[in-house]
């Protein structure tokens, strides 16, 4: 009797675990379908679709949407910041290779595949499940000249001596940031992996004190730091270079009429803020790094 009760308990626990991962195809709100819900070793990931927009969401709050694509126009930027990151091509039109840290749903590689076929792209993503979901749900696929490494972004740069014209950093959620990729030492590593005129392009949220600390830290490493402020979101893009950029962002404006697919680079460039208001913050280092505390401080 005891044995049968014990085995019943075991069966119950096993059933519980079998039922936990993934809730495919459940309808969670009007016109919104949950296509996937499950846990990786890093994140709770949900994939939802509303109309033709499909989003990969990290965490359990709806506002933490990380990456979205339009299924009808996969090269159209659903978020402001993803379009803004392409300003890097306005400033360095002859870019030949880019390192992207943080894959998400793979929107950025899709734009590269469709509109920048001559540019080599090295993507780095730490979470293997994100890669699988990007392939299964977001039309992410490898193209000629594209490579993907599943590893930590800082470790990738540490171990690979390759140099890039642009390093794009998009590895942060709105509620958590990998602190070791905010420090002066990390930016120095990035600088050492840039070609002579290369730039670092980083997506940041500008509504917290981490933004001030990050700009301060960028300024301690790079001679030229430019901030582009989102007009319809709390995202900003920091672009940093050792050499002055030509054309300087403030002079570009209407004269820069280039486009990458549906992304209007002239419009994005006008978001340049020549005098961003940066509150006094200490430089973030490997030794002093309260990044995640600053992230939650307005």
């Amino acid at each position: 009797m005891k044995k049968s009760f014990f085995s019943q308990c075991l069966c119950g626990i096993a059933m519980l675990f079998l039922l936990l991962p993934g809730v495919p195809q459940s309808v969670s709100a009007e016109n919104e379908k949950t296509l996937y819900e499950g846990d990786s070793i890093y994140n709770h990931i949900t994939i939802r679709q509303a109309g033709s927009n499909r989003c990969m969401i990290f965490g359990r709050h709806r506002d933490q949407r990380q990456t979205c694509i339009s299924l009808s126009r996969p090269d159209e930027s659903v978020f402001e910041y993803t379009a803004m990151m392409f300003i890097g091509f306005q400033l360095l039109p002859n870019t030949r290779n880019v390192c992207l840290i943080g894959l998400g749903g793979g929107y950025i590689p899709t734009v590269f595949r469709l509109h920048l076929p001559h540019v080599r792209l090295q993507s780095v993503e730490v979470d293997p499940l994100v890669v699988r979901l990007a392939k299964d749900y977001f039309q992410f696929r490898s193209a000629a000249g594209h490579a993907l490494s599943i590893t930590d972004g800082r470790q990738y740069l540490r171990r690979n001596p390759d140099k890039f014209d642009q390093i794009w950093i998009d590895a942060f959620n709105s509620d958590y940031i990998p602190a070791h990729m905010t420090t002066r030492e990390f930016l120095e590593l990035c600088r050492s992996r840039l070609t002579r005129n290369g730039v670092v392009v980083q997506n940041v949220h500008n509504s917290n004190q981490l933004f001030d600390a990050q700009v301060t830290t960028f300024r301690s490493v790079f001679s030229h730091v430019y901030v582009f402020e989102g007009t319809s979101s709390s995202n900003s893009i920091i672009i940093a270079a050792q050499e002055p950029l030509y054309p300087p962002p403030r002079l570009c404006g209407e004269r820069c009429n280039s486009r990458i697919g549906p992304i209007d680079l002239a419009r994005e460039s006008r978001k340049f803020d020549p005098n961003p208001r940066i509150r006094k913050e200490r430089i973030l280092t490997d030794d002093y790094n309260p990044a995640n505390l600053l992230l939650n401080r307005k």
Binding site: D152, R159, T285, P290
Partner: protein, 208 residues
């Protein structure tokens, strides 16, 4: 016995707090060299668990053999001295290990053990040693095994929260670790100065 109880409570609380503070800080020490993945936390927690296990056995052994409190506090002073040098050795040690071991899981596990095996193993001896030594000298002690674990865990609670929510915000990690080292050293020397062996022996004779 009042002074002995105070000394033991001080040791339990202080070292309980310092252990957890170091555990929180170790993620800052590891992530620049091995990444910020969940593997790093796996290495940190599993390493500390191994150090705890060995420390518990050794602490129990020292108590059973009635090693003097002065010898034990000397060991604690050694662990404090080790903590004081962690900021100096961590960068070269982690750099070397990261170069030698490509796998971040094995690398971080190795680095955690190089940096923390000695101090955490010694610090983990505190609770079993005090429980054992009180049983040896003073079986009816009001400092029960439950109270010993309570004080140590209370220290751990304070150490965890103070470090994660305040100290990391206020100071560089290296300075926090040095501060913890000095606190451990001062506590060990203070307890050493109490000459508890004589007092415990006398109390034991009175009870008998």
């Amino acid at each position: 016995m009042g002074l002995a109880y105070f000394a033991f409570a001080l040791l339990l609380f202080t070292f309980g707090a310092v252990i957890m503070s170091l555990e929180i800080l170790s993620s800052n020490l590891m992530s620049p060299y091995f990444g910020g993945s969940v593997y790093i936390w796996g290495s940190i927690i599993s390493s500390f668990m191994v150090h705890f296990s060995i420390g518990y056995v050794l602490g129990g052994y020292l108590a059973k053999r009635a090693f003097k409190v002065s010898f034990f506090t000397f060991l604690l002073a050694v662990s404090a001295a080790w903590v004081l040098i962690i900021p100096q050795i961590h960068a070269p040690a982690c750099n070397y290990i990261a170069e030698q071991i490509v796998d971040v899981r094995a690398g971080s596990l190795a680095a955690m053990n190089v940096l923390f095996f000695v101090p955490i193993t010694i610090m983990a001896m505190v609770s079993p040693y005090i429980i054992g030594i009180l049983t040896h000298y003073h079986r009816d002690s009001s400092l029960t095994a439950g109270l010993v674990l309570f004080l140590s865990t209370l220290g751990s609670f304070v150490g965890t929260n103070l470090t994660a929510f305040f100290l990391i915000d206020w100071f560089p990690v290296s300075r926090i670790i040095v501060g913890l080292g000095w606190i451990c050293l001062a506590t060990s020397l203070l307890v050493l100065s109490f000459r508890l062996d004589r007092k415990l022996g006398r109390a034991s004779r009175i009870r008998l």
